[in-house]
Structure formats: C-alpha cells, structure tokens
C-alpha cells in the first residue's frame, strides 16, 4: 500500500515514465489524451479519479483519456481494464486510428523493425496501417465484418487490400485461417449475418490475423456472448496469442478475461491510469481502491 504508482510499476517490470528503448516494444504510448469538446488546458483541471468525474467543471468537455502511458512487446498481451466510461475503449480507438488522439505520442514498430509515429500519420496512412500492421477485433462484429458478405469474403477483404490477386491462394488462405479459428469450413461461403455471436467473433479473429499483424487490438471480444461460448472464444484467443509473435492489447471490464489472456495490466478510471502491474500480482494484491473494487467484483 505504501508503494507509489511509479515504484509499483517498476517493481512489476513495466517501465512507465522512463522512455522505452524503441525496438523492444511493438507499441509505446506516452501521454495519450482524448478530449471531446474544448481541448484547451482548462478542460483538464478538476477531472480524473480524485474528482470522481471525466467531465470538466470549467468547460464541460469530456476528458475521456489523459496522460496514458503503456508499452507492449512482441508476443506479449497487455490488459486494459476499467468500467464503462473509464476511457479504456477510447485509448484503444486512438491506437487503432478509429479516432484521432488529442495529445500524446504513439511509437509503433512492426515485425520488420521499421518504426512509425502513429500520432503523426495522416488518416490515409493510418488506414493503410490497418491492412497488415494493426488489426482490431471489436465487441460489435458489425464494426469488424461486412454482414452480407460470406465468412471467406470477409477474410479475403484484408488480403485483397494487401494486393492478393490470385483467387485460389486467397481461398486457401481464408480456409486455413477459418480452420484455425474453428469456423466450420462447410459454412465459409455463408453470409456472416446468419452466424451466431460466437461464430461471428471467430470470423473477426480469422480476418484480423489475415496479414500477420504486428499488433492486435481486442475490444471486449467476448462481452455479450454466453459464458460457455465466451470461454471457447477465450481459449481460442489464448492459443493464438501463445503461438504467434503478435503484440496484443486486450480491453475489457472483466478481470476473468484479462486474467486469462494477459500478463500485464493497466487499470483505468475516469480517463486516467490508476494502477499498473503484472496481472496475477495485481489480481492477488490490488493497491488502488478502484482496482480492489474491480477484483472483488470478479472474485465475488
């Protein structure tokens, strides 16, 4: 209880404030912020966990995320946990490029070792990164899939975007990926709108892996699924994360998801990171009252 956030982070082997050596991390984020409304300095004061709100008393702006630092290395999964409104999904959308960040640096290094400042890329370049470098699996499959297109066609999408022009090769790659995510091949030519929730998530995962991304972002990937279906999808994702060298960020409100998939975790409340550490240690001995509350809820 006496450790500061910074000390605890170092103890947990997760350097937060010190600048990370660039090549070690797939993604290194410093000072990420997202404000909806007035983006001036004035909006920051009076928001955050100590004030119990993300809404600026001065300007009425929503400080959805502020001062967020995180790093994730190849082959590693980082959890981001918090309740709805904590800013965890905002952070993920800013990293994905689905919306522009208000502040902060995002340094991305791909498999091949080439490095980009994501925050300095144009929207067009950000979209290009999404073809083969960065993939997202959304909670809502409608955001990640084209519903009236077949499972195979959805997987073909990023392949054709990456320049694949051979029908036979596209088809065998789609087959391989759908097999890997346990989608019955007999159904690969059926439109995904006819699929169950769990099966849609499996197709989304297959699609996200199509071009061997360096960074995989999972946004509440099993929320809304029945417990038994969710368990199956989690098992699958755990296996995939173990067997590939992809760096993953898993956003969830559910500690059991974070526990199953990640080794390190950051806890967010009212747009700020309140605690960071190794997942199993944080679960065992949460320091921040909010983390304790989340752990208690998961254990309850």
């Amino acid at each position: 209880m006496s450790l500061t956030l910074h000390e605890r982070a170092q103890y947990a082997g997760a350097p937060l404030a010190s600048p990370a050596p660039a090549p070690a991390w797939t993604l290194s984020v410093r000072g990420l912020g997202k404000i909806y409304g007035d983006t001036s300095e004035e909006s920051i004061a009076g928001t955050g966990p100590e004030f119990g709100t993300a809404v600026s008393p001065n300007t009425g702006a929503i400080v959805a995320a502020w001062g967020v630092d995180l790093d994730v290395a190849p082959g590693e999964a980082l959890g981001v946990i918090g309740e709805s409104g904590s800013g965890k999904s905002t952070v993920l959308r800013c990293i994905a490029g689905d919306e522009p960040a208000t502040a902060g640096e995002m340094l991305f290094t791909d498999h091949g070792g080439s490095t980009e400042r994501l925050d300095q890329l144009s929207p067009t370049e950000r979209r290009r990164m999404r073809i083969s470098d960065i993939s997202v699996v959304y909670q809502d499959p409608a955001l990640g899939l084209t519903m009236d297109v077949s499972a195979g066609g959805n997987v073909a999408d990023p392949l054709t975007a990456a320049g694949w022009r051979n029908f036979g090769r596209i088809r065998s790659r789609a087959t391989e990926l759908l097999q890997r995510t346990e989608v019955p091949i007999a159904r690969m030519d059926h439109p995904v709108k006819a699929f169950s929730g769990g099966m849609k998530q499996r197709v989304q995962i297959a699609k996200s892996l199509a071009n061997d991304p360096s960074l995989l972002l999972l946004d509440e990937p099993t929320t809304g699924l029945d417990a038994s279906v969710a368990a199956g999808v989690l098992d699958l994702m755990r296996g995939l994360l173990e067997e590939t060298n992809v760096a993953a960020i898993v956003v969830s409100h559910d500690f059991s998801v974070i526990e199953m998939l990640t080794t390190r975790v950051i806890v967010m409340q009212h747009g700020r990171v309140v605690e960071a550490g190794l997942t199993d240690q944080l679960l065992e001995d949460p320091q921040h009252p909010y983390s304790q509350q989340l752990v208690a809820a998961a254990r309850g």
Binding site: V149, G153, R165, F167, I170, D189
Partner: protein, 305 residues
C-alpha cells in the same frame, strides 16, 4: 444515309419531339462548362468529374449526359453517328441524332469509319475506332462502387485512396456463388492503373476495345452529373484474378444469319420452333458485310425491334 433511317428520323422526331429541333437546346456557355469538365476528365483518366448537367429535351437517363458531351465536342464540319444498342435506326438514336444535327449544324453518318463523334448506348462499334474519333458513351450509373458501399463519402474516400479491396471482395463472392464473375455488362475496369470505372453497360465483349484505344472515349452521366474519360492509348484492365481469366460472351457455332459473322457481338432472337436466330448487334456493320449488299435494306428494318 439510307432511305429507311431518313424516314424513321422524320417519323420519330414528329412523334417524340414535335416540330423541328430547336437550335438553342444547349447554349455556348453550357458547352464551355462541359468542355472544362472534359479537360479535367481527360487529364485524370477514369476520374469522375462533376458537371452542372442541364435539363435537355430528353429524359435524364435517356442519353441527356451523352447529348451534352456530344454537343460540347462537335462542330459544324463534323459528322455524328448515334447508336442505341448497336442500331442507328432506333427511336432514341434517331431522336438524339436529330437534336444534335439541329443544334450543331453538323452532318449525320451511320458508317463508323466516317463519323467524327459517335454517341452510343451500351455498345462500341465493331469497326475499330481510329485516331481523331471520339466515342461518347451514355452512362446511367457512373459509380462502380455503388452496391459495394452505400455511403457516397466512403465511395469518394475509396477512389481517393485507391482502396478497392471491397470491390475485389465482391468479385471473390461472385466467383464463390456463381463460379464466374457474373457482371455481364458494365464490368468494372481499372483505368491507367489508378481509378476503377463503370464502363457503362457495354457487354464484356466490348471491354477489350477500351484498352489502348486509338479514339478518345468520353463517358457521361446526365442524371448523376458526372463525366469521365479514357484518353487514346490508355491502359484499361478489367478487374480479374490472375487464375480466373476474363472472358467475353461467345456462343459456339453461332453466326449472323445476314452476314455470316461469328466474331461480332451477336444477339439471339428466339424462334417459334425453339431455335435461336443470331444477328449482329451492330446493324450498320452488318449491312456493310453482307454477301450482296443492295437487296438487304428491307431486312434491316426487321432486325431492329
């Protein structure tokens, strides 16, 4: 001019347009606006240029875009040929030709090789076009991404970024469902390696004629207010997977009953006995390639629907 088409011209214009075509259906300022759009279209092959499409004395969707492009391009010394599905004598073609001649004071022509501007709906003539000629294609739907994505903003973004993945997915789905790419007409093509276009509903048979064409090809959509172009000697490639070759329509053993051609675009006419009679879609070309040319004028009338 054959006497038949001259007769048809008289009759249909009376029926459709009333008295002689007014000379002022398209003023000089409007022509200039279309020419400016056309210059952009030629400079950026395949890019859809917006233009302030005017009301014309034909219904939008019945060649009003083509008519404006033709009137902007043609001069009094030029000859115009107008075809509808390959036919010079059809009612729409005749009406459009009459309007063009009335406004521009140009000559009219049915022989492809002698026309300076050829306005066409759904066909490219059989006779290869030459340097100096212009083909104006009437376009009902200029946006090849319509039906692929609904949002016009998204369509524009895809063109701007050359992001045609969803179009390829559509071709993939087509092959999965039908075994072939089922686009029989309006087959999506990549122009100059940059923009995907809708080539207007010409049959696949005509698509290869767009590649490295000697003539300028102008595509104009009046209702949608878009004009785009394929300058001479531009690369035009139908979107095709490497291992699923692009094929054109061909029926084994079919030949035109009038001229005997088996290498033109043929239309099948079902007979009462269940067989199919094949005739050239390009009626002018057909009439010039018959064994004994002068006795066939009457039959030509029967071919046209």
């Amino acid at each position: 001019m054959t006497t038949l088409s001259a007769e048809l011209t008289e009759r249909s214009v009376e029926q459709l347009a009333g008295d002689a075509a007014p000379r002022d259906i398209f003023d000089e300022l409007s022509k200039r606006a279309v020419r400016r759009a056309l210059l952009t279209a030629i400079a950026v092959p395949g890019y859809q240029v917006p233009f302030s499409s005017r009301e014309m004395p034909v219904a939008r969707g019945w060649g009003s875009g083509g008519l404006q492009a033709t009137l902007a391009l043609i001069g009094a010394d030029d000859n115009v040929k107008v075809i509808d599905q390959g036919e010079d004598a059809g009612v729409n073609a005749t009406n459009l030709r009459r309007l063009i001649v009335g406004n521009a004071g140009c000559g009219e022509e049915t022989e492809t090789g002698l026309a300076d501007v050829i306005q066409s709906r759904h066909r490219i003539p059989e006779e290869p076009l030459k340097d100096g000629q212009t083909l104006v294609l009437q376009v009902p739907v200029p946006e090849p991404l319509r039906g692929v994505v609904g949002s016009m903003d998204e369509q524009r973004r895809m063109h701007a970024e050359g992001d045609y993945a969803k179009m390829w997915v559509r071709l993939y789905e087509d092959i999965v469902r039908n075994g072939v790419v089922s686009h029989s007409a309006d087959y999506p093509c990549l122009v100059n390696g940059r923009y995907v276009i809708a080539p207007s509903p010409i049959p696949r048979f005509d698509v290869p004629k767009l590649n490295d064409s000697e003539a300028l090809v102008v595509l104009s959509a009046g209702r949608e207010k878009r004009i785009y172009a394929i300058p001479p000697h531009t690369r035009v490639e139908p979107l095709t997977f490497e291992d699923v070759p692009f094929t054109v329509e061909h029926t084994e053993g079919a030949a035109c009953v009038f001229c005997g051609s088996d290498d033109t675009y043929l239309i099948g006419v079902p007979e009462e006995d269940g067989t199919t009679r094949w005739v050239c879609s390009d009626t002018d070309w057909c009439s010039r390639h018959r064994p004994d040319d002068d006795t066939e004028t009457e039959t030509e009338g029967e071919v046209s629907r």
